[in-house]
């Protein structure tokens, strides 16, 4: 496999043309790699993720998956190209049942849906128990599991997770990260936004710190965790680009 | 020659009356983003109020109050304001398309009542003998005098509204239209401002209705059909909403288009199909306006695209 799975170069993106939030960001994620995207509030982490899916305006730069350019594609086409996306909030359909949520996730591959749903139930037995419950009836942790299972329905090559452990009890969060591990082990590239630096780096192979729309620090997770520049970056102090 | 001048005078008078109503709509929509889908209802209230107060007594319906014209016009505006207040209070906190529904509903209800409450409105026969100013003048001079009156009223309404929108209140109103959340954060009472704009904007509509009644001397439910709401909206959109001069210009332009299409239909369509002529006119105007919305939404004089309320995504102001 030549080249990284996901390659972002010089991305400028935001909600309005005159107000970019992501400001010339470049990063890459390899297959089977878990990359944690960290940074203070408002740094543009979620926006960057949405840009990859085409859910915010891309003003400049390029986003490629396996060499294919995604910029300019409508969201459903970008996703169909092999992306699984789990948003931070409202990441399950509350008026659809668990099973319908999964069916929606597998919408692009109707012939494989039945098999994939069975697979999802094997992997996440709690979903099987709740298959006829509405998404709105699940607890926070259960919804998170459903959201991830939904994103996996098309066997994506790249998984985008926006704060997967947010609002979860530590035990549930651990389960989520363990699932992420298993997913990456199967060869999927994972880009994960995490507010909780320690947990994020603990679950990742690599970390990237985004400040004011641009990566300012990056490196292997363990090393980054011990890097004194990490705290400074979060506090908004200048950091030499890594 | 006289005929042509008479026609132009008539044209300008009706256009001026429409322009007054359009100015009111501009305050409601152009300056405070509220969709009044029942403009004709407010005009009807003004017209019937004026008619009820100035028409002679008839055994079929109430009358015989013989109010002086100016007082009756003031009362017409007051009646319109009261109804607007009632509707506004109920809908001010709701999603904006509910305001459209409610105003649409009230215009429809008013239309039904006008047709059915014979004791008050004369039903389908309408009310005749309404007091006209300059009633003693021969027709040609009456036309000129009334045009002068209508033009003066239009000018007065225009100047008053311009004053209002340039005042601190008017500027705050525009801030609310642009970004409601920010305005609320700055402590502006958003709901009350919108309600006030809605109510004040309704007054010229009632006045226009009263002027119309005074001009023709007769009103009936068939003078106030739903298509009139569409015509006034078209005037505002063509002229450019958010701009009072544009509203007036739009009124004249659209009324000219409407009149010309009417003449065109009379000339081109064979006489046996003339009854359908009105339908052809409506289709032409409908198509024209939808095309305008698609290709030049800011109208003739409206503001630039990105700040035009027409193209603002309602969701971005949080009012859904």
């Amino acid at each position: 496999m030549s080249g990284p799975l996901l390659e972002i170069r010089g991305l400028v993106a935001g909600y309005h043309r005159d107000l970019p939030i992501v400001d010339r960001a470049s990063l890459s994620v390899g297959a089977g790699e878990v990359v944690a995207l960290l940074g203070p509030n408002g740094a543009g982490k979620s926006t960057l993720m949405k840009a990859v899916c085409g859910l915010v305006l891309v003003i400049g730069g390029s986003i490629r998956i396996d060499g294919r350019e995604l910029v300019g594609l409508p969201t459903h086409a970008a996703i169909a190209g092999g992306i699984g996306y789990v948003p931070q909030v409202q990441n399950v359909f509350v008026t659809l049942t668990v099973e319908e949520n999964l069916r929606a996730g597998g919408f692009a591959e109707p012939r494989a849906v039945r098999e994939r749903i069975a697979e999802a139930y094997r992997r996440f037995p709690l979903l099987a128990d709740k298959r006829r419950n509405l998404g709105g009836e699940l607890s926070g942790g259960q919804r998170q599991v459903l959201a991830i299972a939904r994103a996996l329905m098309t066997r994506p090559r790249l998984l985008l997770l926006d704060e997967p452990s947010a609002g979860l009890a530590p035990r549930a969060a651990q389960d989520v990260f363990a699932a992420v591990h298993g997913i990456a082990a199967a060869g999927v590239g994972v880009l994960m936004v995490e507010q909780n630096v320690k947990a994020g780096l603990g679950a990742a192979d690599r970390g990237i710190v985004l400040v004011q729309g641009r990566p300012v620090l990056a490196g292997p997770a363990a090393a980054l965790g011990k890097d004194p520049r990490l705290a400074r970056a979060f506090l908004g102090e200048a950091v030499d680009a890594a | 020659m006289i005929g042509t001048i008479s026609y132009l005078v008539f044209f300008a008078t009706v256009a001026s009356i429409f322009a007054i109503a359009t100015l009111g709509l501009n305050l409601q929509w152009g300056f405070s983003g509220q969709f009044n889908a029942g403009v004709v209802g407010f005009m009807a209230i003004g017209a019937y109020a004026y008619a009820a107060l100035t028409a002679p007594a008839q055994h079929e319906h109430v009358g015989g109050f013989h109010w002086p014209m100016v007082a009756a016009m003031a009362a017409a505006m007051a009646a319109t304001i009261l109804v607007a207040l009632a509707i506004g209070v109920i809908t001010v906190r709701l999603r904006t398309d509910y305001l459209a529904l409610a105003t649409f509903g009230i215009a429809a209800a008013i239309g039904h009542l006008a047709l059915n409450l014979e004791g008050i409105t004369g039903g389908g026969r309408g009310v005749a003998g309404i007091a006209k100013p300059f009633a003693d003048l021969p027709p040609f001079w009456f036309g000129l005098a009334f045009l002068a009156l209508a033009a003066c009223v239009l000018l007065a309404v225009y100047l008053l509204l311009e004053r209002l929108v340039r005042s601190p209140w008017g500027r705050a109103l525009r801030a609310v239209r642009e970004d409601e959340i920010a305005a609320a954060a700055l402590g502006k009472d958003v709901d009350r401002m919108r309600l006030t704009a809605f109510v004040i904007g309704a007054a010229p509509m009632g006045l226009a209705g009263a002027l119309y009644a005074a001009f023709i001397g007769y009103v009936s439910p068939y003078d106030f059909l739903a298509i009139m709401t569409f015509q006034i909206w078209a005037m505002l959109i063509v002229g450019g909403s958010g701009n009072n001069a544009g509203a007036v210009l739009g009124a004249f332009v659209v009324w000219a288009l409407w009149s010309m299409s009417g003449i065109l239909v009379v000339l081109v369509v064979p006489s046996k199909l003339q009854v359908q002529g009105g339908a052809i006119q409506a289709i032409l105007i409908g198509v024209l306006l939808v095309a305008m919305l698609i290709f030049r939404p800011r109208g003739l004089m409206g503001e630039r695209l990105h700040s035009s309320p027409l193209l603002r995504d309602d969701a971005s102001t949080g009012r859904r």
Binding site: - | T96, A100, A109, G278, A279, I283, V290, L293, I294, D313
Partner: protein, 297 residues
């Protein structure tokens, strides 16, 4: 007296319910109040009429009904024609506006314009006189409680129930229905599932157009066809949708039935000249007391 009024109200209400579903779907998925929706009833009813006129009638009356078997073909023609008109309206008017970022209020104004055009085209082609599918006489059926109903009216209820069942099947058991429900709830999340919102939108126009055509044909069958029929029904349709709660189909059905029954029962307390204002009063009451309607989120 009362049972008759209630039954008459349910029959009117069935037609309103079908149309209200179309409106609530449009509100939920297209996210704007389509003031031109009621013209789909007019177009549908008149398209079916064209088929009937072309055929020279509806065929020999079947059983106690006023119409013959051809009415089914006419109905199919009406459904198809209206679905096409609905799709064309979206392609020509609403999609370009969506692309330019038009807010719901612009779309509402455009829908007014569309309503104007559609209504007057029907007026142009058919004139102002009321029309009927068939002038055959029917004999009323006597029900317990001294209630009289026409066989056609019973059929309207039956057809409505069947239509509702088909709609339920579409929304709950098909991929198309799933896409529509997903887009109605959360468009961005649906997109993240690789669902194309434009496809869901096209289906919404087709389904709501077909429902409108059905409602219009049933109305034409049991009352009459007039070019203003849509315009006159617009307010009751919207009231039913709002009363039931935007986006709720069961709500639209119940809202429709309630509006029909209330309108009919109102003659007991209000003079008949106020009857047509009842839907508006219900709407105002709804806004005052419970803006999100009976089943709204």
């Amino acid at each position: 007296m009362i049972p008759q009024l209630v039954v008459d109200g349910l029959l009117t209400g069935a037609v309103i319910a079908l149309g209200a579903i179309g409106i609530t779907l449009t509100l939920a998925i297209l996210r704007f109040a389509n003031f031109g929706y009621a013209e789909f009833l007019t177009v549908g009813g008149y398209a079916a009429l064209s088929a009937v006129l072309a055929y020279g009638g509806t065929g020999a009356p079947l059983g106690p009904f006023s119409f013959g078997g051809f009415i089914a073909v006419a109905l199919a023609v009406g459904l198809l024609a209206t679905a096409v008109v609905a799709l064309v309206s979206d392609t020509v008017v609403f999609r370009p506006l969506r692309r330019r970022g038009a807010g719901p209020l612009v779309l509402i104004f455009a829908s007014f314009g569309l309503a104007l055009v559609l209504r007057h085209i029907v007026l142009l082609v058919y004139g102002t006189q009321p029309e009927y599918y068939s002038r055959e006489i029917q004999i009323a059926v006597l029900l317990p409680g001294g209630v009289r109903v026409m066989p056609d009216q019973i059929l309207v209820l039956g057809v409505t129930v069947v239509a509702l069942m088909m709609l339920w099947w579409l929304l709950r058991r098909t991929r198309v229905g799933l896409a529509m429900r997903a887009v109605a709830e959360n468009t961005a999340l649906a997109q993240a599932c690789a669902i194309d919102p434009e496809a869901a939108i096209r289906w919404t126009w087709i389904v709501s157009g077909a429902l409108g055509a059905l409602a219009g044909t049933l109305f034409g069958l049991t009352v009459q066809l007039r070019p203003e029929m849509g315009a006159n029904l617009l307010l009751p349709l919207f009231t039913a949708a709002v009363l039931g709660g935007v986006g709720s189909i069961p709500g639209a059905v119940i809202g429709g039935l309630l509006v029909g029954v209330a309108e009919n029962l109102s003659v007991l307390v209000l003079p008949t000249s106020y009857k047509a204002t009842v839907p508006f009063l219900i709407m105002l009451a709804c806004f005052l007391l419970r803006p999100k309607g009976l089943f709204g989120k």
